[in-house]
Symmetry: C2
Subunit: 199 residues, 2 copies
């Protein structure tokens, strides 16, 4: 499924419009989709397509990225923070200093992660992952998984990036305060926008 | 409060390190803060500071941005999506097609919004807003607020950007399907990272 929208290439026209202009909806049998058209005050128009992405496309975006936004919730209060991650085997691996995010995910492991790839305002992909928090503690059981996370993360994650440290935290000498975790992905969806010039 | 971290300028050194290197924590009375130091395998080091931002700094980031990530939750299931917004009077104004985000915020108006300003991997600001969803319906009561939202948003928001349309949605001829809303900000916090060269 995809939607499309035809807009004026000249943005000044858009600024002169009002929300009511959005009501000029018309069917476009030629394209087999409905078309939402702005009044054309000049000749130039292009058409925006928004379409759902396949899972393969979603995975490609996830693999090529490293920055995401992770949302968790507790007592129906949402919380969202940027994280850096590495992806492998339907898991997002990351680490964090202890804090609200870790506490909340321990209490409620359901998370939602958003990633995007913006080529331009007219060309972007946005992916949502739904999954479960799994901590990778420093125990024998999780030793290999923790090493795996570390080997993936050290490829491109820097420790001073979001999540790596926090203001004024009391450090414990001789103990790494970082929590390693993975998000097991249950479901992923995505939308892509592409502009098509119609002269 | 702020934390700082001293790291090797040469990233290859970092790659040779292991999580245990993070444990080399030492107090830095000269700086009045604790310092987390990586083993220096060459001469070049710089220090990363992470500090809490003032509310004025947070507002400056919010005002200068237009893209944010909005998290909401329902039955303790989190959901996060990109939105475009305009900020005025401690409110984020935005609009959306009907869908999960709108349904969930109608059911539970508590939201968390994350914005950032990345100058580089070593220099970034991240701001969190906690607030409440308020719909701006097409009624006499909300007429002026809705016009206000529109006048702010038309300055720089394009209708084909995230939230503006969605795949395959059935349009109703003659009726704008867009939902205008504002997020009344209750609280905002932020963190800034800055690198300082120590030769």
């Amino acid at each position: 499924m995809r939607s499309l929208i035809r807009i004026n290439r000249n943005r000044n026209d858009l600024r002169r419009s009002t929300p009511q202009v959005l009501t000029s909806v018309k069917a476009s049998p030629a394209l087999g989709r409905q078309t939402r058209a702005f009044r054309s005050l000049d000749e130039g128009t292009y058409i925006m397509f928004i379409r759902e992405m396949t899972e393969e496309e979603c995975i490609a975006v996830v693999k090529s990225g490293r920055l995401a936004r992770l949302a968790c919730s507790k007592d129906d209060r949402p919380y969202v923070v940027p994280i850096h991650y590495a992806y492998a085997g339907r898991c997002l691996y990351s680490f964090s200093m202890p804090g609200r995010k870790i506490e909340w995910m321990r209490a409620n492991p359901r998370v939602c992660v958003q990633l995007d790839a913006f080529s331009s305002a007219q060309q972007w992909k946005s992916v949502l992952l739904y999954g479960q928090y799994q901590e990778l503690p420093e125990t024998a059981q999780w030793h290999n998984e923790r090493l795996h996370a570390w080997s993936l993360l050290q490829e491109h994650v820097n420790w001073w990036e979001p999540g790596g440290l926090k203001p004024g935290l009391q450090q414990t000498l001789g103990a790494s305060p970082h929590v390693f975790y993975c998000i097991g992905v249950d479901e992923m969806t995505g939308r892509a926008a592409v502009a098509e010039d119609r002269g």
